[in-house]
């Protein structure tokens, strides 16, 4: 039981469940299917972006350029829709993903090959990627009327009661889970971030894992770029401005350690869900939506403080009595599981 209570994911899930139940009791609108479906559709991009960011953070990195990447690749997808309306939808989406992947690979190359700190690289590319939108379009935006009908309809379609963005988010989440848990490369992210020296002893290449992480973050940003632009029916340079920090916040709330090597798919999904629920719950509770950001901030701080407490390392155990005590307390903890 104690082990279950120690699981961060479970605590977070419990808190969320209690919160949902309480808000639902206050106003049943909140737990109606339509509201939940809206909330999930709204949060689907955050799910995917947070998972991709988690992979980057696992390698002890950070990618501040994801939102700019999302805006640029979404914009390119919208341009394709505007100027080549006959191109099949799949190719339009693929264009977005490909642009995102390319931008991610640029980040990865600069970080893994030249060894420039990730925060510097992605701060630079953040500015470049967003600015490229203006250069590409000369300051114009692509409006709903200029994008293809099918292009915009796709994210609004529902299938078996769920909208396509939710399905895509579910698919991407499953893929991430499979990749991170069932492949050697996936476990390699944990190894490189957890202990780079040990990873080297195990023959795992840090550079390759880093390159891969930023490329994945890029491709996912590209996919989300299409979804964002198509769903809101507008593409311009300011979309998702500042969103990179929301994405990182979801990771931190989900228990991803900024020091690398720690983080789970379930935790990150819950972290994103948390932010999604907060956003939807406020209007239901008749609280001003302006509380959104303050609550997110408070939750991030609470999450890091709790994480740090859990991660704090004890003193060395040299005295025999201390070693015995250390062991017995460990043994007791284990017996309690």
């Amino acid at each position: 039981m104690t082990a279950l209570l120690k699981s961060r994911e479970l605590i977070l899930a419990l808190i969320l469940a209690i919160a949902v139940a309480a808000i639902g009791a206050y106003d049943s609108v909140f737990v109606q299917w339509q509201n939940i479906s809206d909330m999930l559709t709204e949060t689907s991009v955050l799910f995917m972006m947070a998972l991709a960011q988690m992979v980057v953070i696992l390698t002890r990195g950070i990618d501040l350029s994801v939102a700019a990447n999302l805006a640029l690749s979404g914009f390119v997808a919208a341009l394709v829709s505007q100027y080549y309306p006959d191109v099949p939808l799949v190719l339009m989406i693929a264009t977005g993903v490909a642009v995102g992947l390319l931008l991610g690979m640029i980040n990865g190359g600069l970080i893994a090959i030249l060894g420039i700190p990730p925060i510097v690289v992605t701060l630079g590319t953040l500015a470049v990627y967003r600015g490229m939108i203006i250069i590409l379009a000369g300051g114009d935006q692509v409006n709903a009327s200029e994008m293809g009908v099918e292009f915009q309809a796709f994210p609004k379609q529902a299938f078996l009661g769920l909208t396509t963005p939710i399905w895509i988010a579910i698919g991407v989440t499953i893929l991430f889970w499979l990749f991170l848990n069932l492949t050697r490369t996936g476990r390699g992210f944990y190894a490189v971030g957890g202990n780079p020296v040990a990873a080297r002893y195990c023959g795992i290449s840090q550079g390759w894992q880093e390159f891969l992480a930023y490329s994945i973050a890029g491709a996912v940003s590209g996919l989300c770029g299409y979804l964002w632009v198509a769903r809101y029916g507008v593409a311009y340079s300011e979309i998702a401005s500042g969103y990179e920090l929301t994405v990182i916040a979801a990771c931190v709330i989900g228990g991803v350690s900024i020091g690398g090597g720690v983080g789970t798919v379930a935790g990150t999904v819950l972290g994103a869900l948390f932010l999604g629920i907060v956003n939807t719950a406020l209007p239901v509770l008749q609280i001003s939506p302006f509380w959104q950001m303050a609550i997110a901030g408070a939750v991030i701080l609470a999450a890091v403080v709790i994480n740090a407490r859990a991660e704090r390392r004890p003193d060395k155990l040299i005295l025999p009595e201390a070693r015995r005590l250390g062991r017995t307390s460990r043994a007791m903890r284990r017996a309690g599981t």
């Binding site: 944990y190 190894a191 202990n195 002893y201 060395k316 005295l319 070693r323």
Partner: protein, 500 residues
Amino acid sequence: MPDPVLTLTGVSKSFPGVRALHDVSLSLTPGRVTALIGENGAGKSTIVKILTGIYRPDAGEIRVKGEARHFASPRDAWAAGIAAIHQETVMFDELTVAENIFMGHMPVGPTGAVDWAGMRARSADLLNRIDAPIPPAFPLKRLSVAQKHLVEIARALSHDAQVVIMDEPTAALSANEIDDLFRIVAQLKAEGHAIVFISHKFDEIFRIADDFVCLRDGEKVGDGPIASVNEAQLVRMMVGRPVDQVFPKREVPIGDVVLSVKNLSNATEYADVSFDLRKGEILGLYGLVGAGRTEAMQGLFGITPMTRGTVTLEGRRLSIGSPSDAIRAGISYVPEDRQDQGAILSLGIRENITLANLGKYVRGLFLSRALEMTETRRLGRRLAVKAANWEQRLAELSGGNQQKVVIAKWLATRPKVIVLDEPTKGIDIGSKAAVHDFIGELAGDGLAVVLISSELPEVMGLADRLIVMKEGRMVEEFQRGRWSAEEIVGAATGARKEAA
């Protein structure tokens, strides 16, 4: 005797300023345990790193089952059947036991997916083979140090290693845990593995080893069956030259008590450390790695404040809550870990030397470069620091010169008591002699010196008095002239009490 599974012939390795190994040859036989013996810095770790593909030798040959091999990476070494259990466990705390065993070569199913069930089952098998019923799905961070060692052994076995290297596996283990480990070593031996066993504890070496190889200053100074030598002979081989010739002890008049420490304790690391230290005296602090010597002295210096005990300096009770308190009172501590704790490599010599008492070089509001320079020149010359200029960054100096700069930094604070923690660890022989000479000089100038050292000849050569620590406590005190190497080592390992 079966053919050797692995031979090293004429292996040499140098680093800038240090000759780590010179022309070392050895061979390992299946089913036998070879003890690798030598002091810190004798080259044992370098051999381990060469065998595991982390370093490449400058010269010499590695043959596995008679076939010459070059290890370009750790993977090559595994492939050749060599696996090591490192001194500091290099593992992944946040991952599970099974993943730690198989990281880098996880079993995959036909789809390319990691076969978790198979990996856990194989981990359980490996752990059962060494009688270590640790659940493979357990996160590693919840294991004890001893259990982590067992996981490392399982990792070595997972490579199907013919040669298993154990680098001080018992340093942090209790007596029972050591028994368990030795049972496993005996079992591996019976299964035909060749084992390299590195330890400072002679009782263990005589218990487990079949052969020995003794290194000193990077050279092999002896080898053969362990049965052909006794402990005294091994100590002499390790230490080399008769002690007193190498370290000419200065005759220094010993004055009044300067520092008086009573019952220094903290919760988990050291307990009831008490001693008096006199002007001009050098007090040696000997013990195995991890005996709590460093921790106790860092407690005295305010790094990890003590929870109990009193410190009196020249009759005045001190309360030391931080290093700056200690520095102000006149206590200096030259840390063991030069790279991380002592030197600031990216700053220059002047900036390092003046760092611990910057206030002294301030005129008005500003630092006076002239004052800094005067002190730098004075101490730099006194310690014979070799550099192109006093602004040269420490990263560009040799280890020995870096250490001299670090010592100079602490002398600049004009201390009354100076604690030197392994001051000659990892520096070349030339600088070593200079540092030894200098320690004597300090005592001659009236400083009270505490010398922590794991090198027996060093403490025996320099110290007036010697305290031996074991498992966080003082176990025995020796006076100069009334000690022997065997007695001291015996006290530190606990072998002596059992014999008595």
